[in-house]
């Protein structure tokens, strides 16, 4: 059965304190792994797509990495504006030309000044 597990569920950091969020997954026919940021009361905002093990993507203070079983979202020197829920989703084929995202429940990150 396809499954995505994120840890920790919640993380509180001081401004400037680097850390990592984990996303472990089991899925058949992986087409990609996505990271999204979700602010309270808003829709998920796309951050990264990773397609194959060993791939890395960076954007400002965020860096995403992928292995065959898990992905990490590294946050370097976070700022309070990085506070949000970070969602991981794996993408697999749905049959034909569409795809399906299977989401984890997210990590709620709070960065204190």
């Amino acid at each position: 059965e396809d499954q995505v597990t994120q840890s920790p569920e919640a993380l509180r950091l001081q401004e400037g304190e680097s850390s990592s969020l984990n996303c472990s997954y089991t899925v058949s026919g992986l087409r990609g792994l996505f990271w999204y940021r979700q602010d309270p009361g808003k829709g998920p905002e796309f951050l990264f797509t990773l397609y194959s093990a060993g791939e890395e993507k960076e954007k400002e203070r965020l860096k995403a990495t992928l292995t065959k079983k898990e992905s990490f979202l590294h946050i370097t020197a976070p700022k309070p504006e990085d506070s949000a829920t970070y969602l991981c989703a794996v993408c697999r084929g749905y049959g034909g030309a569409t795809n399906k995202l299977i989401f984890g429940t997210g990590t709620l990150l709070a960065v204190q000044p």
């Binding site: 087409r31 996505f34 808003k42 829709g43 749905y94 569409t98 995202l101 989401f103």
Partner: protein
Amino acid sequence: DAMVIQNPRYQVTQFGKPVTLSCSQTLNHNVMYWYQQKSSQAPKLLFHYYDKDFNNEADTPDNFQSRRPNTSFCFLDIRSPGLGDAAMYLCATSRDWRGRSSYEQYFGPGTRLTVT
């Protein structure tokens, strides 16, 4: 800017009173999705359209229906809302898989549905 728009942002309906949520997109994507997200939970896929082809998830209740009159618009109809249907409803779009083009899903801001 190309985007996904959802209206209304907040909707209050009475128990059992039909309600329609709206989604439009300017990305010209041929796939549109509807998700339900309850507090502190992962988004749950309800159904999606590939062009005009409707694909229902096996565990989506019959109470939920959808229409896609054209490429740009998609509607979510809840025929008889119950208290358990109170949630954030998210619309998303993507290109299809053919040609290995990027197929990220782009989400709208969501509609928060309250059932009284």
